[in-house]
Symmetry: C2
Subunit: 153 residues, 2 copies
Amino acid sequence: MTSTQPENLPEISPAEWEVMRIVWTLNGAQTHELISSLQEKMDWTESTIKTLIRRLQQKGYLQRQGTQRPYVYQATITEQAGINQQTDALFANLCAMHVGPTLIRLVKNNTLSQQDLTELSQLIATKQATAPAVVACDCLADCQVENQGECHE
Amino acid sequence: MTSTQPENLPEISPAEWEVMRIVWTLNGAQTHELISSLQEKMDWTESTIKTLIRRLQQKGYLQRQGTQRPYVYQATITEQAGINQQTDALFANLCAMHVGPTLIRLVKNNTLSQQDLTELSQLIATKQATAPAVVACDCLADCQVENQGECHE
DNA sequence: AAAATAAGTCTACAATTGTAAACTTAACTC
DNA sequence: GAGTTAAGTTTACAATTGTAGACTTATTTT
């Protein structure tokens, strides 16, 4: 897997993630926008949201625009970069053997556009040229050596 | 997305996840196996590992086998179920518009077996019949209505 | 300019998580 | 069966996270 930690920023927590989504979606947002958007979805007080905004600034994911007071908060990384960070963190800890079935399941369960599917399909065709017959488990340091494929049995 | 919370067990934390991987891989394990396996990878004391084992039991993810003392700890959910739980939790919080590119990236960056690729390819062919031209953002409750596709611009 | 409001900061506190020492109990070894 | 060792339990403590009240400072309104 390729690791995509843009800098070495600390991770975005689930609650903080909700704030980032709005900022990304609106391409920057003011406090009151964040408050009203988030309160439609989450049962949070203003105070909670302000805390999350502050922590995201401290962590380096949000930056204020300008010096006048209705500040606009901007994200310091793109949404896709944020998503990559989250997915990479997750996939880095999955058994290699289970990644295939997991991706199949995700493709199955999510709505993809025609273009996504076309791209995927091309990508797969390319990969088929060099794909191995099986992907071995990599959960144990010595799995291949000692268990010779006997792990997960 | 399909939600896969097998029961309503609390979530498995990252450190706990490492323990589960070994249990899954070895199809059940004793304390000393967990300790030696994990210490090859993580810089943890025995004590830390014992704590994680205990918490996993409390959370309902590990169960002891038998009554004699070298207990064997068994997982109460399959590895794939655990992985599904983790990935579903993550994907449930991604903007629908970004799921496609994210899956493409994951397929690109991971090693898949010939069979995985074949299955994926068939799945994609099936999906192409009914896939929409575009997948709209679902970050804001009223994104479609109010922003008419203007979000994320 | 005074009042009202919105924005921002400070402080707080409980739950979860990472990390681990110390203690107890069962099992194995001589 | 006494001692050693492995396993299991209890307790602990700091960091992070979720959650939020209270206070301060700008900004806007009348």
